[in-house]
Every structure is written in C-alpha cells, then in structure tokens.
C-alpha cells in the first residue's frame, strides 16, 4: 500500500495542470442546443490538438496509450482546474469508444475512434426502449439481415442529445428466436441514414428545450459490417464496458463534488455564521458530506488499484452507487444553504440547475435499484 505517484507521473500531473490552467475555455458552458454542441466540440478539439485526448486509448487510434494512473491524474487535474464537462462527448469517449477499442475490428477502429477524440463525431446511445428500460435485454427493435445490410425497424427512447449527434451505439434484436440475452447485436448506426425520425422530449430542468429524443426506425439500412463484436453477441459487448468505463469517468464528478462541498461550507458560514454552524443541522450534514466525499475519493483509488492489479471486477459498481447517491445529497444540501433565493431563476444559478439535473444520476445507466441488484448478484453472489 502506498499513496505515492512516480516522478514521471508527477511530471505528467504538472504538465496537465499547466496546460489546463492556460487552456480551459472561458465563460459558462451553454446547457442546450447548437450552442452547447459548438462549445463541447471546440473544447474537445482543443484537447485533441494539444495531445491530451484519449489518455488510455491506444496510440495507433489517436490516443496516448497511457495507464490508468495517468487517466486518474488527468481527471483529478481536469476537475481541480474547474474544466467544463463536455457532456456531448460523453458517450463517444466513455462508452462507444472504449467498446470499439475492446471489441471492434481494425476497419471500425480506424474509421470511428479518432473522430471521437477530435470532437468531430458526437455519439449518442440507443439502448432503452419504451417497453424495455430496466429490463433492457427484453428490447424488441429488430434488425433483419438483407444481403450485406441490416434493416432496422422499431424505436429507442431516452437518447440524450440524439438530435445533436452524428453516430449512435445501438442495440438491436438480430435473432428473435434465441433466448433474450443471446439474440442481441451491438451496432454502429449513422444518424444521417434514411428511415430515422426523431421526436424531441424535454426534461425537468428545461421544459422548453429538447434533451432526449425518441428514435423511430422505419426500415433504416446500415452495412452488416457495422456489427461490433459479432452477430448476436451484443449483450455481452454492452455489459463488458458499461460498468467500468463509466466508473472511471466518474472520477471527475467525484472531485468536482468534493470542491463543491468546500464551497458550500464557505457559503454556509457566510449565511449562518461560522460560530453557529457546528451546532446547526446544516453543519452536521456538511460534515457528513465532507467525510463521504473523502471516502468517495478513497473508493476511486481502490477501484484504480484493483484495475491495475488486473481485476477491475464488479466492485466498481459499489463506487458508482456511492457517488450517485452522495451527489444527490450534496445538491439537496446546496439548495438548503441558498434558502428562499433557490426558488428564483433556476437556469442562471448553477446550484439550482444542477440540483434538478442530479435527479438523473440514480436513473441513468441503470437505476440505483438495478445497480443494487447487480451488486447483490455479481459482487455478493446472492441468487437471482
């Protein structure tokens, strides 16, 4: 056991810190629409051009080929610098990309990976369906093989930023007669293909602006060569990257939230007086969250330690569950510290906006209830 980083790691950290300080974009990140796309893709391109994109991705596909410790350091410095999260690039960088790195063929890797890193290609997710949410494997969007093409018919829903995306990681049923987990394929879908229609869905933080879309596929055709990791092997492919990649990406959030708790303490002292705070219910909750955020960072280090020992394992789901629930507690407490002003102008006050936004953290990528099933069954070995 040790907390030391090597001299090379330290040097990497200092370079990352210096570069981030000089290069993070000025101004508040827009939360919606084309403005957000312009902001996020430009910031991603800036990182790529300077050689900071894809820390752990292979060098032959535009990455830096570095280990998980460097990835951890980069995320730590990224959050410490207050760099904006480019959510629009999230699926490409943390899910579709790593899936193609692990399971794609050479042609797929050459074609799709670099544009993710450079910010040219925005990916969205096509997993959930109107009748297949937590029971994802029951999905029914069909893909029929017609020569060297797949013909897709059906519907996907809760696709974040689908209307701003270029590509989609899509789960389709390619063998309706097989058991439900065994007839699914993971495919690369081009959002410009004919036969796709989008219906916008607004979310609770912005009742007038689309966030999700529902996708309707009406005999949309893509090359059969867009199947990643083999026909009917999609469930395994999707599950293999779902947990771990999202877990490491959470490092940024966890550090950002630790900083937020410190800001909240300063603001609470101003509002309630520092001499009163330690006897106040708000003070007790702040202290608990300080301890929780310290533990969340230690869990991250534990997860990285396990992964470096070659055993990423299902335990990373423990960290995800912890961080998700603590984020909600932090945001709720932030609102209590603000007081009555919290009822005003939610779009302009980030503390209010993100309070509402954080309700997604225990729903997206598997609800916290499904995650507890996964922990019970895969970490603890409890029966189904």
């Amino acid at each position: 056991m040790d907390l030391h980083f090597s001299a090379e790691d330290q040097q990497f950290r200092e370079m990352a810190r210096d570069w981030l300080r000089d290069n993070i974009p000025a101004g508040r990140r827009p939360h919606h629409g084309e403005e957000m796309r312009t902001f996020d893709t430009a910031w991603q391109k800036t990182q790529f051009d300077a050689g900071w994109a894809g820390i752990s991705w292979p060098t032959e596909y535009g990455g830096l080929g570095l280990d998980l410790t460097r990835q951890l350091i980069w995320y730590e410095e990224y959050a410490r610098a207050g760099a904006p999260d480019n959510h629009l690039c999230f699926v490409g960088l943390n899910h579709a990309g790593p899936t193609i790195v692990s399971h794609g063929d050479e042609h797929q890797k050459r074609k799709y990976l670099k544009p993710v890193l450079s910010g040219e290609s925005i990916w969205c997710q096509g997993f959930s369906e109107p009748n297949s949410g937590s029971d994802l494997a029951s999905l029914s969007t069909r893909a029929e093989i017609d020569g060297d093409e797949l013909v897709i018919t059906g519907s996907k829903i809760w696709t974040s930023h689908g209307h701003l995306s270029d590509m989609q990681e899509l789960l389709v049923r390619t063998d309706p007669d097989a058991p439900k987990h065994k007839g699914i394929s993971w495919v690369i879908f081009d959002m410009k293909v004919a036969g796709l229609e989008l219906r916008p869905i607004n979310i609770m933080t912005a009742p007038n602006l689309p966030h999700f879309v529902q996708c309707f596929y009406d005999e949309a055709r893509i090359p059969l060569a867009n199947v990643v990791g083999g026909l009917n092997n999609g469930w395994k492919i999707a599950m293999s990257t779902l947990g771990f990649e999202r877990g490491t990406a959470q490092i940024k959030d966890q550090i950002r939230y630790a900083h937020l708790v410190e800001e909240m303490i300063t603001r609470a002292k101003k509002r309630f007086g520092s001499e009163n705070l330690h006897t106040d219910e708000i003070g007790s909750r702040l202290a608990q969250l300080r301890a929780d955020m310290a533990a969340a960072r230690a869990m991250t280090y534990m997860t990285v330690s396990r992964a470096k020992a070659g055993n990423p394992g299902a335990e990373s789901s423990l960290m995800r569950a912890m961080v998700g629930q603590v984020q909600q507690k932090v945001r709720r407490l932030a609102l209590d510290i603000i007081g009555p002003e919290a009822l005003e102008n939610p779009d302009e006050d980030d503390w209010v906006y993100f309070y509402l936004r954080t309700f997604s953290t225990t729903i997206a990528a598997g609800t916290s209830q499904i995650q507890r099933n996964i922990i019970g069954e895969r970490v603890l070995g409890l029966p189904k």
Partner: protein
Amino acid sequence: MNLLPDSQQQQILDTLSGLLREKAPIDRFREHGEVGNEDDRLWPILGDLGFLGLGISDSFGGVGLSAAEEVLVYREFGNQLLSVGVFGLTLGARIAALGGDDTMCRQILSGSLIIGVASSLHTPVQMSETACAGAFHLFEASKADLILLMNEQGAALITADQFVERKSVKPMDAILTLERSQLPASRPALWIDASDDALHTRAILLASAYATGIAATTQSMAVEYAKIREQFGKPIGSFQAVKHLCAEMAIRSEAAQSQCLFSALVVAEDRDDKDFQAISSKITSVDAALQNAASNIQIHGAFGFTAEANAHHFLKRAHVMDQLWGDLRHQRARLLSLPTPAT
C-alpha cells in the same frame, strides 16, 4: 499509488486471521460468564508474533512498520471482536516508546502489563503533562496496571490506582468490563504531547479500522444467511427487499474500508490532512458498523434478535467504537472546523 496490501502485508494478514480464527472464534463468547472475556490470554501470543508492536521501532522491541499495517490488523481485531483492551496495548506501547521507557514498552509488547482504556464522560476533561483529571468510563480495567487516556491535547498512561470512586456498571456490551470512575488531578506516568505525536489521531484511525471489521463481518454474516435461509420456497437473498439491504451494506463497507486504508497512509506519512482523513474515516466506518450491524440483525429475523445469535455482539461493540475518542456528533463538529486539505 496502490491501496491493496503488498505481499508482506498480505502475509501478516493471513497469519493473523488464521490465528484469530483458531484462538478467538466469535463463538468463544457463549462459553464465557455473564460479563467479561478471556482475551487477555491472547496478549502474550499476539505480542510474541509482533502484532502488538507493528508500528513501534525495533529498538523498543517492535516491528518497525507503519500505521498501514496497524490498520490491517485492527480490521481483523474488529472481525473477531477482540477485547478493546488491545487498544490500550498498541497505543500504550507507542506512548512508552515515545516517552523513552524501554522497559515498560517491552513489558507491554510481551503482554505482561494490562492497560485499560478510559473514555471521557460528559464532563470537561483536563489533560496536560502535569495533571490529568475528569470523569471517565473505564473499559477492561478490572485487572489493569495502567490506564490509557487521550484527547486532542495529548496522550497519557496513568497508574490505575489513581482513579477513585471506581464502580462497576452493567455494560451494554457484556463482553467488556465497564466501570465509572473519577480521576482527581493526577500526574501521568507518561505523557506525550499532541505536538510531538498525533497519538489521538492514530487512536481514531485504529478505532475506525476496528469498525470496518465490524461492518465487513456483519455484511458477510447477513449475505451468507440470506443465501441459505428459505421462505416462500426461495432463499431470502433472492428478494430485492433483502438483496438491496445487503447491497447497501456492501457499499458502506467498501466506502469505509477504502477511506480507512487511505487515511492510514496519510497518517503514516504524517501529512497535514491526517486529522481530516482519519476523522472522515471514523465517521464513515462507525456509521457503516452501526448500520451494517443493525441490518444484520434485521436480515436474521427473530433469530437475529436472540442472545444466542452473535449478531447483537457486533451492534453493541459498534456503539463502543462510536464512543471511543469522540462519537459521531463530536467527530462531525471537529471535521467541520478543519481547513480544506491542500491535496
């Protein structure tokens, strides 16, 4: 950076857990009388194998390792609910070594001195090199030669006969002996000022490590029971209501364990944020121990509520860990008063 034990640390762990499973199985409490335990029979064995002096320099008869190894063994002590008298020995030996009392240090490490543990009651405590005073709970002090006493100002070993008005009280955790007593202003036999060594921080850290053992063991007891106990024709662990309770236990255990190991390394390096990290560790681990111990009773159903089941021992000991060197309320207030760590 690596939070996993290295091969030497793993070897220490394997040796100790094997030894404790044999010499100190949880079922040992059933064979004992109404109050107390016979764990002091283990002290010479643990001392002989070096487990009491892991963090003590070898020139004083210790092993010369760090807080990291101490934390690993205290987690095992918590797994087996070893008598809290062991805190008196580990921390007492450190006081003796830092105070330059080689003879006393070696006596403690050989298990031939018994050291009780004082925990302050509600009244203010006086603590200095010249005089310590206050009202205390004394744990495991009935046969003790010395009493361990510490707070944020420093750490003291006080000869047991300086405590007056000693009165045995019926302990909630009946495996431990408990007394109430007064300490009139008394000069400690040995005193280590907090500015010379963060003994109080280390005590908090070791209590938190012990609590992670309680959290982990109650988690595995509950999970194992949920796999074999059947109702409605299925193991109860297949029902989400039970499964999710177990998952919550695992999340709390992982958080507590990770923070405890992290803070042990911070304490070992004597970093500026050692109090911040160790207090965070005590808060998360005591919370995990209390909640997991409660869930373990719940998952065992009516059997969990019996005296015969071991589940209640873990809950009661978790409350002792909460009280030692400041309870959750106290630790939260302290944590809030500390500056933001630099790293």
